[in-house]
Amino acid sequence: MKRVIKAAALAVTGALALTACASADGGSGSGSDDGERVNIVGFAVPEAGNKAAAAEFAKTEAGKDVTFSGSYGASGDQSRKVVDTKGKDVDYVVFSLEPDLTRLVDAGLVADDWNAGPTQGIVSSSVAVIATEAGNPLGIEDWDDLTRDDVKIVTPDPASSGSAKWNILALYTYAKQNGATEEEADAFLKKVFANVTTWAASGREATEAFKKGVGNVLLTYENEAILAKQNGEDLDYIVPDHTFLIENPGAVLKDASPVARDWLDFILSDAGQTAFVSKGFRPVGDLDISGIEVEGANDPADPFPTPTSLSTAADLGGWSAINAEWFGKDGEKLRFDQLYAEATKQ
């Protein structure tokens, strides 16, 4: 018995060690066989769109045998990681917010003229929406309803998530649209913040929390809500009459492989945008989407209703102005942080 056990123990240990040795050589390269690879770093939600576009890209001349590797997470965090590693092994980036991309420009990783193209560097767009439990049991219709006592909101945290900032600007511009003064807008935001039950790290993690039954209202991107429905999640979403246009910038790094540039060109082409539309993004550029059915949308044949009024980041003076007023860095408390602190104070 003694010998048997001893032998067995040694055999298992040896086997573990051997597997390790065998894979020690292949560890780094086994993902890419022969074709070129585009390494993507992105914010939390465009993975499905990129995958759909990549499948179409593979059918083109430039995209044959190209493989992809994507890292997706909270926009600000992803941007910081790229800078912290000097863009090593990163070819293409797509962020929720412009400042996350300009950080790379400042670090010298992305060319200054990244936004010189016809879409000003924007690769995908969407709008801020309100998602509810299936059937909308609370009867939520507009941003106003979010101040109700029975509402428990799940939203990403602006500290790390770009999505969160879009949502908050949607709320703010809604209040202003209805003639609120700055003080009244602040009061409105505070009332909504007081109803937030979860501040998730990223847009995707917010969806995840909502799926797990936390809260009864989710503030999110339209495409994220459509994607969730495509994946069979039980939720509904409302595109409010007034909302905010979400524009996600993307760029190729200076020393990326040339195929990454082909990839970016493809994303902006009609075929690329069609792939994004199929995953719930609104098209950038002048793609005609009549005839494209978007599964998961409220009306698949007319997936993207035009809101009566749509605010944009440019309306508020652009992202540097917005960040300087609202969202502090490094623990600095600006307008949002103060409202948030007051609203959640206990």
């Binding site: 003694k2 056990i5 001893k6 067995a8 123990a9 298992v12 240990t13 573990l16 060690a17 597997t19 390790a20 040795c21 894979s23 020690a24 292949g26 560890g27 780094s28 086994s30 993902g31 890419s32 690879r37 390494n39 993507i40 770093v41 993975e47 493989t67 992809f68 590797s69 994507g70 890292s71 997706y72 997470g73 910081r80 990681k81 800078v83 912290d84 590693t85 000097k86 090593k88 092994d89 670090a107 995707r204 993690e205 995840e208 994607l227 994946n231």
Partner: protein, 282 residues
């Protein structure tokens, strides 16, 4: 073991009550959840889909999943190798040699066990990231990157499992004493001979436990790796990161399949350790 005592123990109602309580507690806290995971792993993803072992294999043979497991095993292998060499060396030094600072060092080597994995990741980033780390720029200028690369993953993993080997060897070294080593020494054996012929055989099993424990810990490291790794498919996504990514990305079946493999690996490690413990005692 303590068989005679157990026979002598009085078996009143309290004994049975406690036994029932412990079984129920462990069943609810550990066994039942594990059973649920196994069930989820082999359940069909959708109504009408194929479930069972076939689907399980299919999910695991996806290239990104095999890459993740490959990377995990590679990282664990190097981390364990480094920890074993370091652990044996430092244990010998701590137990057998006199040097200033020995006590402080013996306390410090225990530290990594109690440090939060998130803090480990943060510490490595603050020391070695190219952007803000203390030494990142210097290392980058010679073309060496720690954060976002496999060496970084190995360092994070080695950090968290550092004391496991030492903890096993030190008590054994203390127990056996240095008499045999001194005798060998006085008979003219050199350091290496003494180590190989005298010390190593007596600490052999302690080293094996340490290795198996470190292996189990390394395969499953999550927090520190999450912060250090780029976490992309085919690029730094280890098995544990894959589980989180897939779970949050509408691919729960794959997450459960990968989790099940890690459950099996850790149970296997436990059984191996439990067997060699028994062996060592007899």
């Amino acid at each position: 073991m303590a068989d005679t005592r157990q026979i002598r123990a009085r078996k009143g109602p309290v004994t049975y009550l406690l036994r029932a309580f412990v079984i129920a507690y462990l069943a609810v806290l550990v066994i039942w959840p594990l059973f649920e995971v196994a069930q989820q792993t082999f359940a069909p993803a959708d109504v009408g889909d194929e479930g069972g072992v076939g689907a399980f294999w299919e999910r695991l043979s996806d290239p990104s999943v095999t890459y993740a497991f490959n990377l995990t095993v590679t990282v664990a292998f190097w981390a364990v190798l480094i920890n074993t060499l370091f652990g044996v060396g430092i244990s010998l030094l701590l137990v057998r040699y006199q040097f200033p600072g020995r006590r402080i060092l013996s306390v410090l080597v225990d530290l990594p066990m109690s440090v939060s994995p998130v803090v480990v990741g943060l510490a490595l980033v603050l020391a070695y990231s190219t952007g803000k780390g203390w030494f990142g720029e210097a290392l980058a200028s010679v073309g060496f990157y720690v954060i976002g690369t496999t060496p970084g993953l190995i360092m994070a993993t080695a950090f968290v499992s550092l004391p496991l080997v030492i903890r096993e060897i030190v008590p054994v070294l203390e127990e056996i004493g240095a008499d045999a080593e001194m005798a060998a020494h006085s008979l003219g054996a050199n350091g290496w001979q003494t180590f190989r012929r005298i010390t190593l055989p007596s600490i052999k099993w302690a080293v094996v436990y340490g290795v198996v424990l470190s292996m189990a810990r390394s395969l499953g490291e999550f927090g520190a790796v999450k912060i250090v790794s780029p976490g992309a498919e085919f690029r730094g996504e280890t098995a544990t990161l894959l589980i989180q990514n897939r779970y949050t990305n509408y691919e729960e079946p794959t997450a459960y399949a990968a989790a099940f493999v890690l459950v099996l690996a850790s149970v296997l490690a436990l059984v191996v350790v439990s067997l060699i413990r028994k062996e060592d005692h007899s």
